[in-house]
């Protein structure tokens, strides 16, 4: 009976699960591709295991966020089950089984898609003279299954912990609850952490640029740590500050749409900070992959033979595209679901005298901000690092590759602009479906 209930619930909550399904499928497909690359790379004598590990880490963060989002959507339903007498243990098992069931389906679909893409793209390459298709498929599926198991285990533990903590009364209000904080001034500590870590990071970059070559290995080996911490601390600081500013009821916020936008951004500011940090890291690694791949593909870059260069360069650029697709697709899907869920708020705004055009404009503004906010810290990093590293590379690389880093940064920026415009346009068009004239006011409670 509980299996039937799980399946029926999953079908009914299709739209809410869409985010989960899309994220799991895409990310598992990417892990499958990266496992194939890692296996082939291992056979060729390269260690590329960091890639699937990185994707798995991103997936744990994203899936964790989506799990909590799902819990929020269905919290009232769970409260009803508990009121009817279902035990909490049983309810927790029911929900976790649903999530696992869907996750496993995503695993099958994702790995199939991932392997097919890999087959299509890489088997044309001369690197794959030996077609050990079955061996590659089996081994990559096994590795992906291990990663899937790890992701599900970590996320399930967190979800179980969260469900166990919530009482019936809290479940009834979970959907509408806003995240709060006891000490509004605690964002300042994140500001200090960000400042210190960012200084460390710049220090590492300066070390890479200015230290003699024999010592470069030290900053190179640790540079990722202050970078990641400073990205995380930056968003914790910014969102904490925005929340504190809003709670102080400053006069300036009561103009135009500032109050509404600030309230939406800070209603779940802790989660938003984490999600923005994850997406920022995605974006930064995407940029690094793009630059690395394009550099490797330069004919003047003679570190490897041509076939190896092609393979590695193409892999890096594929990783870049994959990370950008993760970034924009998942953010976009999240926005579409949020727009759909804000229909009641739109109706209230309509009653208060906002026209449909104004509401559309407001929604578009929010979409633009949310698509852009993870890029802010990345821009800061790029602003400091690119000039320094470009100078260093001008010293190392042949003259024909002078300022190559600046050029590649510009090209990457252009790609981002194109992606941004396309995805922004798509979300605006799709969100209009939920905001047409008759829909907003006709849905009023009268």
């Amino acid at each position: 009976m509980y299996l039937k209930l799980s399946i029926r619930n999953a079908r009914r909550s299709f739209i809410d699960y869409l985010l989960y399904v899309a994220a799991m499928t895409v990310l598992l497909a990417i892990i499958e591709i990266s496992n194939c690359i890692a296996i082939i790379g291992e056979l060729a004598g390269f260690q590329v295991i960091f890639l699937p590990l990185l994707i798995a880490a991103i997936q744990i963060a994203l899936v964790g966020y989506i799990d909590f989002f799902l819990l929020k959507q269905r919290a009232k339903e769970f409260a009803s089950y508990l009121l009817l007498g279902m035990e909490k243990k049983r309810l927790t098992r029911l929900f976790l089984w649903e999530v696992l069931l869907i996750g496993f389906c995503c695993y099958i679909v994702g790995t199939t898609i991932g392997f097919s893409i890999y087959e299509l793209w890489y088997f044309r390459d001369s690197m794959h003279g030996i077609k050990h298709c079955g061996f590659l498929y089996g081994r990559s599926m096994f590795y992906t299954l291990l990663f899937f198991g790890l992701i599900e285990t970590v996320c399930s533990f967190r979800l179980k912990g969260r469900l166990n903590k919530l009482q019936i009364r809290e479940l009834m209000h979970e959907r509408n609850s806003n995240q709060g904080i006891k000490n509004i001034g605690s964002y300042k500590k994140w500001g200090v952490i960000f400042f210190l870590c960012f200084v460390c990071f710049i220090g590492c970059v300066c070390g890479i640029v200015f230290l003699p070559e024999v010592y470069i290995v030290y900053p190179v080996s640790v540079v990722a740590i202050p970078l990641l911490v400073s990205v995380f601390a930056f968003y914790k600081w910014v969102f904490g500050y925005l929340y504190a500013y809003r709670r102080m009821n400053p006069v300036r916020i009561y103009q135009k749409d500032r109050l509404y936008i600030a309230a939406n951004m800070t209603s779940n500011f802790k989660t938003a900070a984490t999600v923005n940090a994850v997406f920022c890291i995605c974006f930064l690694f995407s940029g690094c992959s793009f630059v690395t791949g394009m550099l490797i593909l330069q004919p003047e870059f003679q570190l490897f033979d041509t076939a190896m260069r092609q393979w590695m360069g193409t892999s890096q650029i594929s990783i870049c595209i994959v990370l950008l697709v993760i970034y924009f697709s998942i953010l976009s899907l999240q926005q579409i679901i949020e727009v759909r869920q804000s229909s009641k708020s739109n109706q209230i705004m309509c009653c208060m005298g906002k026209s449909n055009k104004q509401i559309e404009k407001l929604v578009n503004k929010q979409i633009a901000i949310k698509l852009l906010s993870p890029i802010i810290m990345a821009l800061l990093v790029i602003l400091f690092c690119i000039p320094l590293l470009n100078g260093k590379m001008n010293l190392i690389l042949p003259v024909s590759l002078n300022n190559i880093l600046l050029e590649l940064a510009g090209e990457f920026g252009a790609c981002i602009v194109v992606f941004y415009i396309c995805y922004f346009g798509i979300i605006c068009v799709m969100s209009k479906r939920y905001m047409n004239t008759s829909a907003i006011c006709a849905g009023l409670p009268f």
């Binding site: 509408n176 009561y254 109050l259 208060m352 005298g353 026209s355 006709a442 009023l444 409670p445």
Partner: protein, 369 residues
């Protein structure tokens, strides 16, 4: 002196300057409700405001009192006319005050011969369809309804499901347009308002209190009330004092920093009332506001409505099934089959007596079937 002509002239000059009513009110340091009253001819500016108003609108006193521009060649003639008018009025000065109180009784809402026909409707309720069916399976949801609601009154509409009260409220709220008839709010025919202008009309003239989902969940109570003022473009410096004074009157000062999910249903409804009244609407439309409340919270809310009428001269139109809620009204309109079947005015009776009369009326209307 034609107050309506003067009001129209002030409105014309204000719009020529590109100002909203709020902006003009801010410059004169008065409320925008006062400006609205001038422009609809319900009152005249205070003596102390004539000269500042003329300076802002760049008109002479003569032009203001004449309610029109005066050409050079007609200046002397018009000036004498205006002076004569003013002296006449001055000698009968108390008539101005009478006019002010007269306008207090003026109707805020006038519904004249309004009908609403929905065409090609399939409701799935064949018995209702049969009753109201016209040609081509159309449904006559509202049938030739007329009534007026004077300023400062608390009027209830009672009726069973399907009687048309929700449809009527939709028409008054500018969400839907009637098939026939006129609906005037503060003298303005809302049927003629183009679709793009309805949002501004709602912003300036209407307030809403629903049964549920009144407040935005991501905003605190304070911010929910402030949002209404922000949308109305009230000066940001005035927002805090307005909310603080109103919240004290409505006894919600202690919960201003709470989110809607942290307060009770009754408190949420009082906050919704605060948000509705803070923008000084001409009329507040309430749809089953006590529907989701227990009896104690419902009584508190209805006392709040009565207080709004008393202290803020608010005009409230409430749709309700609940006879207890209806007993708080000054007047009840009973709807059935899209028509107003009866009206009941509360004269000097107390609530209990009025309650009994309402019950009798409801039984009588039900018995008409």
């Amino acid at each position: 002196m034609n107050q309506i002509k003067i009001g129209a002239f002030i409105s014309e000059r204000r719009k020529a300057k590109g100002w909203t009513q709020s902006q003009l009110a801010e410059k004169l340091e008065i409320t925008d409700k006062a400006v609205s009253k001038w422009e609809t001819g319900r009152s005249m500016p205070d003596l102390s405001l004539f000269l500042p108003l003329c300076t802002l609108l760049e008109v002479t006193l003569n032009e203001l009192f004449a309610g029109e521009y005066i050409a050079e060649e007609k200046l002397k003639e018009k000036a004498d006319e205006v002076l004569m008018d003013v002296i006449t009025n001055w000698l009968g000065h108390d008539k101005w005050e009478l006019k002010e109180s007269d306008t207090a009784l003026q109707n805020v809402l006038e519904v004249e011969n309004v009908s609403k026909l929905y065409e090609n409707v399939s409701t799935g309720h064949e018995n209702i369809l049969e009753q109201h069916k016209t040609e081509n399976n159309s449904v006559l949801a509202i049938n030739d309804v007329s009534f007026q609601i004077p300023h400062g009154s608390f009027v209830g509409i009672m009726g069973a499901s399907g009687s048309g009260k929700t449809t009527l409220l939709n028409l008054i709220a500018t969400i839907d347009k009637p098939t026939n008839g006129i609906i005037r709010i503060s003298g303005q025919n809302i049927v003629d308002i183009p679709d793009e202008a309805t949002a501004e009309f709602r912003r300036r003239h209407l307030g809403f209190v629903f049964q549920e989902y009144n407040l935005l969940e991501t905003l605190t109570v304070y911010e929910n009330i402030a949002l209404a003022l922000t949308i109305k473009e009230v000066s940001k410096e005035n927002i805090r004092p307005m909310i603080q004074s109103l919240s004290e009157k409505l006894d919600i000062s202690a919960i201003l920093d709470k989110f809607p999910y942290e307060i009770s249903g009754g408190q949420r409804q009082r906050c919704a009332c605060a948000r509705a009244i803070v923008v000084n609407p001409d009329i507040i439309l309430a749809d089953e506001p006590t529907g989701a409340l227990d009896s104690h919270a419902a009584r508190q809310l209805l006392d709040t409505f009565a207080m709004l009428c008393r202290e803020f001269s608010a005009t409230i139109l409430m749709v309700t099934h609940d006879v207890m809620a209806a007993s708080y009204c000054d007047r009840i309109l009973f709807m059935k089959d899209g028509e107003i079947k009866a009206a009941l005015n509360r004269e000097q009776e107390n609530k209990q007596t009025f309650f009994a009369e309402i019950l009798k009326k409801v039984e009588w209307i039900e018995g008409e079937r």
